[in-house]
Symmetry: C2
Subunit: 301 residues, 2 copies
């Protein structure tokens, strides 16, 4: 990944270095490698795919942080905290370009098409969220949003790994399902952590989604159970900028069983993901994928 800015402008090299040094959990490339190793993919192609997907993820974060005006990510300053917006837009574009080149270097046109399709889904999801999602309490819309935001790229990770593996169409379809379901579980847990997480660890204020008018699964459960709650009514009428009302609502949701029910739902997704692995003989990779699913539904909830 680091070599992708060699021969480029020194500031761009430095920016990429910082972006990659900031780390993160690297869950997506790990999924690529585990799934592909389990299915017998060529290691070189697999590493190329893993790098392509992590860089696509990085590029979307660069543009998202710029759009949201976020100054911190993973405890580090974001690029836009120090750079003018113009340079930040272009750096994101550059990282997209390198991700696309790596995707092409996997040697699979199908991977390349899925890669481009995933980017389109993610961007369309961001735009839809920006224009339409505020104050909207609708499960269908919620699942579409988290698929666009997270499920689609998890899906690409395991689907792409299977595409470049010597396996039949049914196994490819199962690998794809695995990623999509696990990504959904991952995002639901992220949405729970927005209510229950330690502010310092999550890196943003508790209830920040709701303060932006974004209604996630814990809020959906709470709203379904308490439709007449006056703070719920206020939220649904678009008054999500009222910090005092939202703080009361966040506290009520934290204390309610909406958290536990959301977590159960995340675990259901993770279980369904693991069902897609049935039929594979025991292996180190299969164990690791099961452990990853376990980790995803248990991180600091």
């Amino acid at each position: 990944m680091r070599a992708q800015a060699d021969d480029r402008h020194p500031d761009l090299r430095a920016a990429l270095e910082n972006l990659l040094a900031a780390g993160g959990k690297r869950i997506r490339p790990r999924l690529v490698l585990l799934m592909g190793n389990m299915l017998g993919a060529d290691p070189e192609r697999l590493i190329t795919l893993a790098a392509a997907i992590e860089m696509l993820h990085t590029a979307t974060l660069v543009h998202d942080d710029l759009i949201d005006g976020s100054l911190l990510r993973r405890g580090n300053e974001t690029l836009n905290a120090n750079w003018p917006p113009a340079a930040t837009v272009l750096t994101g574009d550059f990282v997209f370009a390198r991700a696309a080149k790596l995707a092409a270097q996997t040697g699979s046109l199908t991977v390349m098409e899925e890669f481009a399709e995933t980017l389109a889904i993610m961007v369309n999801g961001e735009l839809t969220q920006m224009f339409d999602a505020r104050g909207l309490a609708n499960r269908g819309n919620y699942y579409e949003r988290i698929y666009a935001k997270t499920g689609s790229l998890f899906e690409l990770s395991t689907h792409g790994a299977a595409i470049i593996s010597p396996v039949d169409a049914k196994i490819v379809a199962n690998a794809r399902n695995f990623g999509r379901e696990l990504g959904t579980a991952f995002q639901i847990v992220d949405d729970i952590l927005d209510f229950t997480g330690d502010q310092a660890a999550v890196g943003k204020p508790v209830g920040s989604d709701l303060l932006q008018g974004l209604i996630t699964l814990p809020a959906l459960y709470y709203i379904e159970d308490n439709p007449k709650d006056e703070n719920v009514q206020s939220l649904l009428n678009g008054h999500y900028h009222n910090e005092k009302e939202i703080a009361l609502l966040v506290e009520a949701i934290r204390q309610s069983d909406a958290i536990q029910r959301s977590l159960e739902e995340a675990k259901d997704y993770a279980r369904r993901a693991l069902l897609s692995l049935n039929g594979h003989p025991p292996s180190e990779e299969r164990d690791a994928l099961e452990n990853l699913a376990e980790y995803i539904t248990n991180r600091n909830v």
Copy 2:
């Protein structure tokens, strides 16, 4: 191209519709089609490549207009004139994504890699210009900049068309040279028009490059001939924000033979481009490519 936003957010569909309706000269897709038809490419793949390249071009314009704060392009309002920056960033990303998918649908991994490489070159060029190019009077730097800005995408147009054609490596290399040299000629003429063009037709003030500190070929010739001119000295010392001095310099360049010498240089590039077509039997497409080269070096100079 229009179908690329079907099933997407209505505002995104409308934005794409506007971007495409705004038109432009469509020189890049025309180059793809003419070169590919001359070399016997499959028409379907060729049209897909032409659309991919025009959409890549469109995506870069969306981000460039945002970065430059331009409110008009081709006499129409830009996207950022009406949309928040965040939506404009994402729309550019979406158009990139669709361009990448179309490039993958050409069915050539080589085309796909070249496509991604070209995007990286263009973005790196924009960043280099943003950070380093102001007030820099250096021919090498100028040619690097115009290759990144224009030459690379013209090159991709004719190179890509040849890659998907049933021709040998030598013809592919010649087609590539044709696009690169013609793109260089095109950009030099654009840079001349910045001095000589009718403000209404060009859509920006005369001398706008120089007002931003960007030293293009006509200015380079003038500086070489008049190193001691006090306005030249001022420019080279970074005082390009002094509108009065720059206006005097622009007028001096317009009156000098720097314009004619730049145009001769553009014509040399166009001639070298046409030499790359030697060996091809006469055809309607070859005639059309020659006419296009003629048009490029003669538009309103």
